[in-house]
Symmetry: C2
Subunit: 182 residues, 2 copies
């Protein structure tokens, strides 16, 4: 596999990109105690994010091929595992892909017995999704593979770095989705 991660665009900050005209969007700080990041810092952060994400997703990719699945399947398995009984619409909102795109992947997973559906008892239009036992096992294997890299990195960097890591990532997420990560 080793294809590229979900995305992979690296951006650079050009000469005139000193910006600082775009701040104050989230968690506004009281004073000017927070100096703007330099172009170099932003570029470096961008590249770190790119390479870290690529290697992180690569860990799971190598295992997924054994099942004949790809990254799209992994994302579905992961979020259904995290939210058992989630319905299709909510899953779409998390993944931010189209219904048709999800349909193909979800159909394959259901035909393979990895995901099962059950109509919601209250609103029977809704199809609640659950992992089969086999899928739970597969998810665990994938999680362990990815968690190994993360675990190593978090321990090596230490708890304070880990807290900063989480704080920055959280601030990068669109506000409406921040609550999804605890």
């Amino acid at each position: 596999m080793a294809s590229d991660p979900v995305h992979g665009s690296i951006t650079l900050t050009g000469p005139g990109a000193t910006n600082s005209s775009r701040d104050g969007a989230a968690v506004p700080q009281p004073g000017s105690t927070r100096p703007p990041a330099s172009d170099g810092e932003l570029r470096q952060a961008t590249e770190l994010l790119f390479f870290a994400y690529r290697d992180f997703t690569g860990d799971a990719d190598r295992l997924l091929v054994r099942y004949g699945f790809g990254r799209a399947h992994h994302r579905v398995i992961y979020f259904v595992g995290r939210n058992p009984g989630i319905n299709v619409g909510d899953l779409l909102a998390i993944l931010k892909i189209t219904k048709q795109s999800l349909a193909r992947v979800l159909g394959e997973l259901m035909r393979g017995g990895f995901i099962v559906q059950r109509a919601d008892s209250a609103d029977r239009r809704r199809r609640r999704l659950y992992l089969s036992d086999e899928a739970v096992a597969m998810e665990r294997m994938l999680s362990e593979a990815q968690a190994g890299r993360l675990q190593t990195a978090l321990r090596a960097a230490g708890p304070e770095a880990a807290a900063g890591f989480r704080a920055v990532l959280r601030a990068m997420i669109d506000p409406r989705d921040r609550k999804r990560c605890d």
Copy 2:
């Protein structure tokens, strides 16, 4: 959109998922002063990474469509901008894609006047690549869009969090590629 999450409660922290059997891979710590991250922490970090990356890459996507370009074009523009005069072989080594894949994207960019070629004076088999003025401007716009989100997040979280953010990401990257990010 806007449907809210279902939030299941199963942590799927399996019996064997406690890991800790996979450490010591990179940057081994001296003592045991670094406690292992819990499954919950690892899971949260995974999700933060997913959502932050999803939103981050989305910023550039929205601008790229105006040019009729995609992520692959962005990557080429970025790396040629970072390494003016780079030749095709070196660009391939960075992107880690096949010559045929690059050829399509590079051809489009050259036909559109975003990238220009010049034969190396010493070895005229080599084609050195450069950005046109228009491509430099486009690259700047893309950079600013993506850097905006990063800038805001880094400032909101503060310099110490930013340092932790970088430390963890760097530790996640395969050692051989860490040098690519300064």
